[in-house]
């Protein structure tokens, strides 16, 4: 299918097909991109958007199909070829070296490897010009490791512009931004389009797609299931195309909150590398209530999760469980206090990839009866437990003896959820519980969390997705540089209002006190 008649076609994909083992990630996808056009590539997680763009950029090679850029076939399998043809890509996970400056990252790979010098002076002037023209404020000599997420993204965009990209691919660029930063990004994209660039914008957020794109392509299960001009559609129709059915939003029943099960008052935790610690955090998690934590990633969410999960202890302030401070604090102590933890990264912290489902199911409880007695494992009891989780939580897998590495993200998450909820927790720490899941798994996990709340558990929901936090929470806090906003009850705040807090407005004068950031 072609873009609006008359526009020059700068990019054409024809019959792109890609398989990963039994999974058909892209199924004969064809489309064209016009000059000065913004196409939104819409689809839920796992629909094949990123795979398609990785093929276009040369990270993967398609099994079938061809790519043409400016009328010339693009040799497959080399980012170098894509870059040379004028394609630039801003990856979802930034591809920056933290130990180098912004300028060095921009320069990387732009000159012949054996050239005697970096050519930094000329580059600096060009970067300054691009920064000005596109509204991308970046200090060229700052170490990337010290930059904020928004600044890093600007460096990524500058990398592409520096190479004179005419086609810009952005993979979920707003996932890590505040609403205000998103507006600034869109401003940059509009400037780029005005200068004749073409943009492919990958997202699963309908509002942003409606705002920035001129045309929407919808992917579902690897297939291109729809293409519409943005002006001719609306959010509801896009949502239906995306998931193939109406999305039922999760529903919270009215419920009076119970007593505070866990309270923090004026808590500081130490900084860990680039991750800020908590600074003067006061928080109460109440029975029968979901507390949502909104904020741009890297603002102390990890520190708060580590504290409640037992991996971190306060250096100042106090933490109380049922009104009394815990005697000692560790993951084991947290588990003993009936705190269930759903970790942010299910691959790195939630599971042991090369363990079986059985071994993963008892990861938190292997030391207790009936799974072990006096140091001897009872594998039969462990396997029974795994089977129970598999049945109750609908974990699709070959069986309890399969290695968990083979499972999809959604099924992995269901096992973690089952492991956590089977212990009848009083407090649930859910850190990004639905990130990267498809819509079926998202609904499943969210409903389980709501059910736990209705049974009287105190839930802390940490998410970078503001819509998710607003839909699921009874009260919302915003976290910014380790500090916590006041609690906003459900329905009292707009996205823009929370966005202001996410950008740091409203926190009052900088909280200073010696030693908070030390260690």
């Amino acid at each position: 299918m072609a873009p609006e008649t008359g526009a020059e076609v700068v990019l054409r994909l024809d019959g792109i097909t890609k398989r990963f083992g039994p999974l058909l990630a892209n199924d004969a996808i064809s489309f064209g991109l016009g000059k000065g056009e913004v196409i939104a590539l819409l689809g839920e997680n796992g629909a094949g958007k990123t795979t398609l763009m990785n093929i276009l950029f040369g990270h993967y090679t398609a099994d079938e199909g061809t790519v043409e850029v400016f009328g010339r076939p693009l040799p497959p399998g080399h980012p170098r070829a894509a870059l040379a043809a004028g394609v630039g890509m801003v990856h979802q996970h930034f591809t920056l070296a933290d130990n180098m400056t912004a300028l060095e990252n921009i320069l990387l790979g732009t000159r012949p490897l054996l050239a005697p010098r970096l050519g930094a002076r000329a580059a600096r002037a060009k970067v300054a010009r691009l920064s000005r023209d596109f509204g991308l404020a970046v200090h060229p000599d700052a170490r990337v490791g010290a930059l904020s997420v928004g600044e890093r993204q600007r460096v990524e965009i500058l990398k592409a512009l520096y190479r004179d990209a005419r086609i810009l691919i952005l993979d979920e660029p707003t996932a890590v931004l505040t609403p205000q930063e998103t507006s600034a990004l869109f401003e940059t994209l509009r400037k780029a389009v005005a200068q004749g660039l073409s943009v492919i914008f990958i997202s699963h957020k309908l509002g942003e797609v409606m705002e920035i794109s001129s045309r929407v392509l919808v992917l579902r299960h690897g297939r291109l299931v729809g293409e519409v001009a943005t002006a001719d559609t609306d959010r509801h129709r896009l949502a239906e195309m995306m998931v193939g059915a109406e999305i039922a939003a999760p529903r919270l029943s009215e419920r009076a909150p119970g007593p505070a099960l866990l309270t923090l008052s004026e808590v500081d935790t130490p900084r860990r590398g680039n991750a800020p610690g908590l600074r003067g955090v006061t928080l109460a998690l109440r029975a029968g209530q979901i507390t949502g934590l909104a904020g741009v990633s890297g603002n102390g969410q990890t520190a708060l999760a580590a504290l409640i999960g037992g991996l971190e202890t306060p250096v100042r302030g106090s933490m109380e469980l049922d009104g009394a401070p815990p005697a000692d604090w560790s993951p084991r102590a947290a588990l003993a206090a009936a705190i269930a933890r759903i970790p942010e990264d299910r691959h790195r912290t939630g599971t042991v990839a090369d363990f079986t489902l059985t071994e993963n199911a008892v990861l938190e409880s292997y030391a207790d009866a009936p799974f072990s007695r006096r140091g001897w494992m009872n594998w039969r009891a462990a396997e029974d437990f795994a089977r129970r989780i598999i049945a109750t939580y609908d974990v699709r897998c070959p069986g309890p003896a399969a290695r968990i590495r083979l499972l999809s993200g959604g099924n992995m998450q269901k096992l973690i959820l089952g492991r956590a909820l089977e212990a009848e927790p009083r407090i649930i720490l859910a850190n990004q519980p639905v990130r990267g899941l498809d819509i079926g798994a998202v609904t499943f996990v969210q409903n389980r969390l709501i059910a736990a709340r209705d049974k009287g558990a105190a839930v802390l929901l940490i998410s970078e997705d503001l819509d998710e936090v607003m839909a699921l929470s009874d009260v919302i806090h915003v976290i910014y540089e380790g500090r916590l906003s006041p609690a906003f009850p459900r329905g009292t705040m707009t996205p823009a209002g929370l966005g202001g807090w996410m950008a740091g407005h409203g926190f009052g004068p900088e909280y200073t006190r010696g030693g908070a950031d030390a260690a």
Binding site: F20, N54, F57, H59, Y60, H78, P79, R80, A81, A82, L83, A84, M89, H91, H93, T95, L96, A97, D98, N99, M100, E104, N105, L107, L108, G109, T110, R111, P112, L113, L114, A115, P116, R117, L118, K159
Partner: protein, 314 residues
Amino acid sequence: MDILEIILTASFWAAAVRIASPLIFATLGELICERAGVLNLGIEGIMVIGAFTGWMTVYLGFGLWTGVLVAMLAGMLFGLVHATLTVPFGLSQHVVGLGVTLLATATAAFAYRLSLPEVTSPPKIVPFQPLPVPGLSELPLIGPAFFAQTPLTYLAFVLIAVVSVVLYRTPLGLALRAAGENPASVEAQGLSVTAMRMGAVIVGSGLMAIGGAFLTMSAFSSFFFEMVNGRGWICIALVVFGAWRPGKAALGALLFAAFDALQVRLQQTPMGAYVPYQVFLMVPYILSILALVLMSRRAEVPAALMVPFNKGER
């Protein structure tokens, strides 16, 4: 006091610089590998193979510089084995590195026995001779210490500057450091992580082998088993001590060599009569461990060190 007297002699500093030279070669070699993200535990064996091949080349009648070249090529060959297994195939850098050390050490021993089946004491070659730099070698203390050394020592010190400049001032060095910090950044800018890493390991191994060759061709003039004697492992400690920076690592090597030269001289003092000589010989190893303890918390490890990169991994 004895120690002060020793430290103020030119011969002490000359010895320190001499002892530091092979360490500088090998430390720079290891540093290049690690900066690109590959821990090269083959270093010990590669130094042995360098010591053997360099010496054997000269023994067979070729020139000294030919010996250095052959040693370097032999080291690069074992570097190629290491790089092939650890980079594209992503095998454990610990296991492969130790395997390469065992293989290289055994190869040197096998080749030695094969070429000299009957000898009991290894034949000597005429090694590199000191080449005083006119003028500079006349300076008090510094002159004999730094400017009356063999050409290989001068080469070692020149290499410190070369490696620094390449790492920090050229597109190649930029790509190399990026490969060790975040290989995805290299890939996304159109370069090959595999090529960068393999190249670094091969070149680094070549330098390690020259470090080994220094022992037979500039220090001892003959080859015997166990002559490398843990120097490779010490160099790995020196890389950490130098926080992955060429200048600092070389300075560490010099400091370390000074201690080594000192313990040799202290053995000859009255103190040496009371303390068993083995205690003095332990000093270098203990110092290396101390260096690691001091620096481990502070140093900035390349973020992708020992992390294999599989292109387009999902």
